[in-house]
Subunit: 453 residues, 4 copies
Amino acid sequence: MLFERIESEGLAHYSYLLGSGNEAVVIDPRRDCQVHVDRAAQEGMRITHILETHRNEDYVIGSTELAARTGAEIWHADSQLDYAYGNPVADGQRWRIGEVEVQALASPGHTPGMMNYLLHDAGGRLWGVCTGDTLFAGSVGRVDLAGPERTEEMAGLLYDSIFERLLPLGDGVLVLPAHGPGSVCGGSSIADRPWTTLGIERRHNPRLQVASRQEFVEQTALTQPFPPYFAMMERLNLEGPPSLPRLPTPPPLAPEAFQTAAGDGTIVDLRDSLGFQAANIAGAVSIWTPRLARYGGWFLPYDRDLYLVAGDGSVTPAVRTLVRLGYDRIGGALAGGMEAWQSDGLPSGSLMNITVPQLRTLFEKGGEPWILDLRTADELENEGRIQGAYHLPLTDLLARMDEVPREENIFVFCGSGVRSTIGASLLARQGWRRLTVVMGGMEGWQALSASRR
Amino acid sequence: MLFERIESEGLAHYSYLLGSGNEAVVIDPRRDCQVHVDRAAQEGMRITHILETHRNEDYVIGSTELAARTGAEIWHADSQLDYAYGNPVADGQRWRIGEVEVQALASPGHTPGMMNYLLHDAGGRLWGVCTGDTLFAGSVGRVDLAGPERTEEMAGLLYDSIFERLLPLGDGVLVLPAHGPGSVCGGSSIADRPWTTLGIERRHNPRLQVASRQEFVEQTALTQPFPPYFAMMERLNLEGPPSLPRLPTPPPLAPEAFQTAAGDGTIVDLRDSLGFQAANIAGAVSIWTPRLARYGGWFLPYDRDLYLVAGDGSVTPAVRTLVRLGYDRIGGALAGGMEAWQSDGLPSGSLMNITVPQLRTLFEKGGEPWILDLRTADELENEGRIQGAYHLPLTDLLARMDEVPREENIFVFCGSGVRSTIGASLLARQGWRRLTVVMGGMEGWQALSASRR
Amino acid sequence: MLFERIESEGLAHYSYLLGSGNEAVVIDPRRDCQVHVDRAAQEGMRITHILETHRNEDYVIGSTELAARTGAEIWHADSQLDYAYGNPVADGQRWRIGEVEVQALASPGHTPGMMNYLLHDAGGRLWGVCTGDTLFAGSVGRVDLAGPERTEEMAGLLYDSIFERLLPLGDGVLVLPAHGPGSVCGGSSIADRPWTTLGIERRHNPRLQVASRQEFVEQTALTQPFPPYFAMMERLNLEGPPSLPRLPTPPPLAPEAFQTAAGDGTIVDLRDSLGFQAANIAGAVSIWTPRLARYGGWFLPYDRDLYLVAGDGSVTPAVRTLVRLGYDRIGGALAGGMEAWQSDGLPSGSLMNITVPQLRTLFEKGGEPWILDLRTADELENEGRIQGAYHLPLTDLLARMDEVPREENIFVFCGSGVRSTIGASLLARQGWRRLTVVMGGMEGWQALSASRR
Amino acid sequence: MLFERIESEGLAHYSYLLGSGNEAVVIDPRRDCQVHVDRAAQEGMRITHILETHRNEDYVIGSTELAARTGAEIWHADSQLDYAYGNPVADGQRWRIGEVEVQALASPGHTPGMMNYLLHDAGGRLWGVCTGDTLFAGSVGRVDLAGPERTEEMAGLLYDSIFERLLPLGDGVLVLPAHGPGSVCGGSSIADRPWTTLGIERRHNPRLQVASRQEFVEQTALTQPFPPYFAMMERLNLEGPPSLPRLPTPPPLAPEAFQTAAGDGTIVDLRDSLGFQAANIAGAVSIWTPRLARYGGWFLPYDRDLYLVAGDGSVTPAVRTLVRLGYDRIGGALAGGMEAWQSDGLPSGSLMNITVPQLRTLFEKGGEPWILDLRTADELENEGRIQGAYHLPLTDLLARMDEVPREENIFVFCGSGVRSTIGASLLARQGWRRLTVVMGGMEGWQALSASRR
């Protein structure tokens, strides 16, 4: 039997490839899907089926692309929606893949139509369940996507799915969720366990330690931020996204050509925070490649071409992430990076920065820095606050930018320094000038405090 | 957290790499161990600990090599043995790796000193156990390695380890064994489930469906063949094997140079069975690369140089397998393969072959072919017999070769045609001439019968 | 400066990638052209120009595909033809690529519109010339493609191009031809020199050692076989071939599914000759992957799906070759290869074979075998003949098959055994049964004779 | 025939692999030599010979390592020296490699014992010459290594070697030098031509455009800087360097462990200049990986462990360069890079920077910045000067550091900003504080001026 969990890095999204005999099925394929085709072919297997757990909102699903490359049947879960492709799944439906069987298990809650998939081995023994966004390691799916007015209803459904449908399958069954730690969907609450089971979740998942359905609903029926790109993802996943014959190769553009072309587009600076601080192009949005999946959808437009600035390495990982988020308009990449930009005598800006030991010294000397803390409310609660800091979560920054004074020296603060640089870049392109990034952020602050004790 | 199961293909052996923070541990490293070093370094982790589950008998463990490359501590399990390296593990011993903890759990049975390792996550929650050769998916470790006189004692210990120490950990705990399906150790009885848990094994492992310790002992205290290379492996794993600075690259030798050099060595023909049947060098032992891990140790000498004949591809996969079995004396590879051999006008032999439809026709016409069936007794019992076939398991062939008549036309038979070609090559180098391989073997025979119905 | 010669293996075709600053040009791109895009992007260069030396007849050129991926301009050479894409080149035309310059040099002969391209460095110094099919290492282009009636005219033009336009550029200029040794176009006459210059060719190219234009014309105005696929290539290269968004992945098919599907198609057995001899599917055409570029176009149809049988390795190299020859209809690949075929109990045929020592013994014992020699007339002349052999070049076999007696034991013979197996497969699918392949062929025969002396 | 030029990136050093039949020779192998072994084996060739052109001074040659892996014979050129390994080459000596021949041609000048190697094809035709450090594209080898008192003598010998031995071989012969553009040996004078010939060099190499031996000697007998590591290279290449069984993998160290360990070593910051400017560890030497081959030998000690700080990517390219320069003492790498350093709350420094447009504005406003220009005298002459700048070549900085005032604001300047950052890091670790790097350097300055016109 072939079984692989394929991670889309950054998104922390998992696709699953299951094969037996000469057939294979992919559950929730990613858009840059040739990896599935190649892996199956390498094992002498043809992908015959594609199963979706639900209409995803956080990435573009690869079902139509993979079907175009393999001829596989597509089965989508949210049968009440009006998909432009594929067939609707019925609860209890079964598919034969070589010598093994996969069976659908309706588990509404995250979405009304969510399906989970039971995996049996050749002897008919259940060994795993693809839980989609129903159940994660240490967490459960959010229930506010159907609208704020339905969160209680959906939380109740989620309780029933988990407690009445999943847990009774038995402690020994592996839980194969659609997301791992670091996902937008599960947030920071997804636990860092490589593999998990219904038994481990039953005992250790904090969301399942409830005395009643009512208690679960009260704890789970929360509203979370709804990134602007979710609407685009939902539409694409309903209509089927544009064909992506291969990963795009953005044309490398010499600095002046880049400058000219980018005039009508948006510059995305993918370098790490320090490189951006030292020198950056006017108007560029800083998003370090490893954070692109998490923050790209908040700050990048779909209706303008993107122009990429990368560091030492290639832009391929960023391009891969962008197309997974539906950003197909990539106009070019800066050939030679910022070194070439400087060597062509072009102007650039910079951001000041400060280490946490320096920040502490500032406090110790009686300074009262205007600190802009971009972390989430949860982080503030769990990891503590900096005295006097002004709290404005990064994802609200565009909407609430006016709360940041222009005439003050702003010390931009977050967990480690990455979000501060994103935030500072957003402020800088709107004209803020007196910006200092606190490197290390709360992690550094706490480490420093610990080392003092 | 970093967690990877690294398979040594062919051996169906699993090493495990577990990392947290900037540290990592490898459990049962393979000898060609750079894969562990590279993977850890890629994640910013240093391998600080090497844990052995037991003194292995079926492959050369990579502990000393990996320690030489990383400075990691070695901990070996069989503390009653006199190892030339490393430190002995005590039951209950704990190690901290970054933010997680690993704990030893004595589980004798397969060997007297077998240790299993409990894996906890950063919150101290047990999520998996490395079961070594104690418990496999669908099977348990063999208990006859300490000698035939101790099998009942060892089977009893194994029962205690599984039923009193492992299963009480809870159904939800992942079982991470040292072997997957296809292993020499677990034989064909290891189930083809990608991942498993204590709960799945408790319910579905046929060896655990017993009413009492006594019943388990009766069913498990069996003696199985003891391949000749096991003794070498045990010695190397006690003394520490010779250093292997990198994977050897056997020098490509032109046909005549190969012929000359191989005069004092053993030729191993790694091509698939059909290629060997069509043309082969006198005296060559046929072992198709994918079966080298399973049969190499039975038929290849340690005290002579090996000379390799490969097909289209490279010899690297075979070399990798050979060094894992402790075969460090690889004298060369035939440059240009059998095509070059023929183009140099050198002599070769061939084997006749027959398809299963042809064999059936032969029977239908009243023929009484002398069939040599090289399958195991288990296979005969489970998959049926060919009428009138003479049974002689491949692994006994060298010892019992005289039972095969020289003057008959011998139809060599096995499960699919691979072992028949190995067996025919062994017979041919001892002078048997009238040899015909039955392609497809019992699989083909049964498929043919099924299609008839 | 970036400069790479990219070989299309098998075809022995060379594309050239030349880059400077942030721009690059590709001369005669191959159809699976992403390699050019990636390599240029890796160096921070954008492909801005595509230059064709001529309307090629032996492979599908990648100009339209590469233009679709990069936006580069296409310039085709044969301006008198009616191309459906691109712009016609004028003699002497210049292009600036970053800091270097490329200039067209008309050099008719192989085709009436052939263009060569002069490469200058940043200082304006000529250092190389892309000679297309005008001049090769040790050979010149064939002149019969414009029709047998024009060979003398074309040979004269070729003389002028080489002697009056190329050689006067100076001995030190590198010759960068469109083909290396092993090409269909230059045949076996292309010399095995890794790189060459006008000086080396002037002195050592046997075709240039002539006293007069007349002598050159007499020696060069020859008619050679015209493979049937050339017509297809010429049409595709005029119209622009179908889009090839990525290399196809033929679906792996289980043996019975393969058998059924292949009923309406053509089976191509890509394994080496020995594997084919030992067992093969009825009707399969044997072409070993490394010879597919050379012989595929002679024996495979464009209007039926191809079904592939591969050995140990993957079918990717074969697929790559097939699409370069315009074979886009690839229906599937046999999952599990011939081993799976046998294990499913399906019938197969085989070919007898014989070594050259055995053939000699046959002669020595007075045998008079009916030998079918499939080599070319040139080979017979240069490398000798086997006494009594019947000569019929492989590429004429389909047309002249009736000359081969059906009732005789046919010993099929060639240079090394590969073409004999191709030929034997063609005969077998037309019903010939008494076929024996002579392994090693003339190479083996000569080596054997040499070792006797 | 197999022929490959293998570049050691950064060093711009070329090894050559030449194979024929089943044998191969490597000329000037690099120390991390498995690439040669693998490439030859892939072609079915065994490396039987290793030829050195001369006792190299700028990198560690891989002869003994490659011999240990292949059993090949080593032939070294400088027979008057007292090598601890290999056999001395005689002028005119010949070796047979498969069907081709290589012949030694003494060509003293760069070193007294320099040998060049003539490459013939299977027909005995000379097609190329490995010129070592005798002749490069657009340049010739330096003649001052035997000591300043012998430069004239050596320049005369070099003239004789080039004009009397090489050029008479004929314009058409390919020139295959030991270095390409970017080498320490040939300096910036090596031309950017991908391949060259004796004819091109005869006509276009500026060093060969002389009227007499005397003129050549006058122009060539120059003394250039002698990097401190040359002495170490010469010793290692005479004695045979320590065995390098495989590329080292520096252990990743968590920030505090790195800080502690590096206390007795030297920190090398491999990130690009901008990253270093934004934040760096006290005492770190900045050398961007792509410049490590050029500047590492000037500024890094052999007798202390090196500790590496890398950016996004891996340290492997840097490690490869370091071992080529004989730096085998690599103590570790900073796990998680500078992000982890900040997140652990550790202190760091930074450098100020300025763009060239800002520098111009400074001048325009009447500022008189103290500019430290680290370029070479040649660069100043060829590319111009900045008004009022103080010239001190980077490679002299350690010796002449006191010339830089401590109390001034120093604007560190070079060609593009890389060397300024190296220089600033050297100054900073000696206590200079008021340092500003001019990004873009002279390239940017000139581009800015050009855009103004």
